[in-house]
């Protein structure tokens, strides 16, 4: 594990592994860098991988108040440590964050997006998600914040949530609950970010799984049209929670091309 200090003093932890061109990995909502561990291991065959704990997660520290700009500074600092430019990969809402970093002009060689969870159809129940998460965590109701994420954002039924509280993963989710607000802030109202997508100037690979939800596939179709220099790929049999080694093998091929 390595660490660096972001401009606002926050410690950003990351694992560096492999040798080759640099690629920086960003996790999505409710997870830390362990969610990209198997992807990182596969990519390390061809790349120098920087598998990052976004602020507030894992071994990174946090500095309030949260702003997307601070996370873009974190990404730029990691890219700086990687030699000044790098590929940038983001998964789910981490892909949303990667889009913001690219639009902001971070020195990205190629941008790789896996299923940014935007929606063609409005989802009014998500419009105030960041505030809901913020208020629940501020009130000490972290369990309810996790339930709001799994129930309202992911869309799992109440019966599942009741059982989930008694599953081994629950406390890990509670521990990271304060970052749910951050991903909701990144995603805005979860509607299609037309201007953001159009402003991305770097070559982009955007991928989805053939077994993913229909809305997700339509979103990726639309983003691939909006982003000026986008190549759209589909991994057979994969869903939103993509298998790291499968995605890694595909990216080794796509990024070499």
């Amino acid at each position: 594990m390595n660490t660096l200090s972001s401009p606002d003093g926050t410690t950003i932890a990351y694992d560096q592994m492999g040798e080759g061109p640099a690629i920086v990995l960003l996790p999505g909502g409710s997870v830390d860098r362990m969610s990209n561990a198997s992807l990182a291991a596969e990519l390390a065959k061809d790349f120098t991988v920087y598998n990052v704990d976004r602020r507030g997660r894992g071994d990174s520290t946090d500095t309030l108040p949260y702003a997307v700009e601070r996370e873009i500074e974190d990404i730029s600092a990691v890219i700086e440590a990687a030699g000044g430019s790098a590929h940038l990969y983001g998964s789910s809402s981490g892909a949303g964050l990667a889009m913001h970093a690219a639009a902001d002009g971070a020195p990205i060689d190629k941008l790789v997006l896996w299923e940014p969870p935007y929606n063609l159809n409005p989802r009014p129940e998500l419009a105030d998600a960041a505030k809901v998460f913020h208020d629940l965590v501020a009130a000490g109701k972290r369990d309810e914040a996790v339930e709001h994420f799994m129930g309202t954002v992911v869309g799992l039924p109440p019966e599942f949530l009741a059982g989930a509280r008694q599953s081994p993963f629950w406390e890990g989710q509670v521990k990271i609950a304060h970052t749910l607000e951050y991903d909701a802030t990144v995603m805005g109202d979860y509607s299609m970010p037309v201007e953001l997508a159009r402003s991305i100037a770097v070559p982009t690979i955007i991928g989805d799984g053939s077994a993913s939800m229909p809305f997700m596939r339509e979103t990726v179709d639309r983003l691939a049209e909006l982003i000026p220099s986008a190549a759209r790929v589909t991994l057979d049999g994969q869903q939103h929670n993509v298998d790291g080694p499968v995605l890694g093998a595909a990216l080794r091929e796509f990024l070499a091309a």
Partner: protein, 282 residues
């Protein structure tokens, strides 16, 4: 984050929070420093103790050396005890509690006090036992790198989660993190040994434990789980049994911490009293 090198050369990564007598916290299945029950508990204990949470071998930032043996994990705990000054209290949750029992049995007086929360023993017919062939099935799935199926097997046959819930688990983002830990599922299967077969526990496995031991069950936990804790306290040489009102297997740190602080404090106050007295005399 700090590291200690275990006897077989494996790097064990740990965090220490707080100051005071050392308490080492042991995770159960599919858990690590960043994903598990113990980080929150360590924060609670840190007011009075040096609380150590660590990545068990094969997890998070720790290394791994094959072949696996429970004895290696006991050596890992021994390494942490040495890093903590040569003696420590030990706490384990779920299958981590069983590992803590084995470690206390082996490490003798190095473990000053031992606490276990809900070691998942199946000692009677209050739930179906872990099926025959479960360890082999788990090992086969991991050997074939079928990590998702290994997790499904653990959730369904190990925990007893209904199939539709097991299916929905696949749609949550932490799935990848669980897959990254899945190869350690057979490790916890090895730790559990024959203790989930529906038969009484064998007292001789932990007959050498000298440390005063606290066995805790959740007041809202399933009957089979509560029966297992009663059975454990019954066979241990020096154990007391407590029920934590309102809690289930995934215990809340704020609920458990006061009980642990009380138990561990009693154990440490006595040896330090002469030192304190000397200080006052002077």
């Amino acid at each position: 984050m700090s590291t200690v090198i275990s006897r077989d050369g494996t790097r064990i990564t740990y965090d220490r929070v707080g100051s005071g007598p050392a308490v080492i916290l042991v995770d159960g299945s599919l858990s690590s420093r960043s994903a598990g029950l113990n980080a929150g508990l360590a924060a609670q204990l840190a007011t009075q103790f040096s609380a150590y949470i660590y990545d068990r071998r094969g997890r998070g930032d720790s290394g791994d050396t094959l072949p696996y043996a429970v004895e290696r994990e006991i050596e890992d705990i021994d390494g942490l005890v040495e890093a903590a000054g040569g003696a420590a209290h030990l706490y384990g949750v779920s299958s981590g509690g069983v590992l803590a029992l084995d470690a206390a049995n082996r490490l003798g007086t190095k473990i000053t006090r031992l606490a276990v929360y809900e070691a998942p023993f199946v000692v009677d017919d209050a739930r179906p036992p872990i099926p025959d062939g479960y360890p082999e099935q788990m090992q086969k799935l991991i050997t074939q790198n079928r990590r998702g199926e290994a997790i499904d097997l653990f959730m369904s046959k190990g925990i007893g989660m209904p199939g539709w819930m097991v299916f929905m688990m696949r749609f949550l983002p932490f799935r990848a993190g669980q897959k990254a830990l899945a190869h350690t599922l057979p490790y916890d299967v090895a730790v559990m040994g024959d203790t989930q077969s529906g038969k009484p526990l064998r007292a001789q496995r932990w007959a050498s434990i000298t440390a005063p031991t606290l066995v805790v069950a959740g007041g809202k936990s399933r009957t089979w789980m509560r029966n297992g804790q009663l059975a454990l306290a019954d066979i241990l040489p020096n154990a007391e049994h407590r029920v934590l009102d309102g809690q289930m297997h995934i215990v809340k740190a704020e609920a458990l911490a006061p009980m642990l602080i009380h138990f561990f404090s009693d154990g440490t106050r006595l040896p330090t009293e002469p030192d304190l007295a000397k200080g006052i005399d002077r």
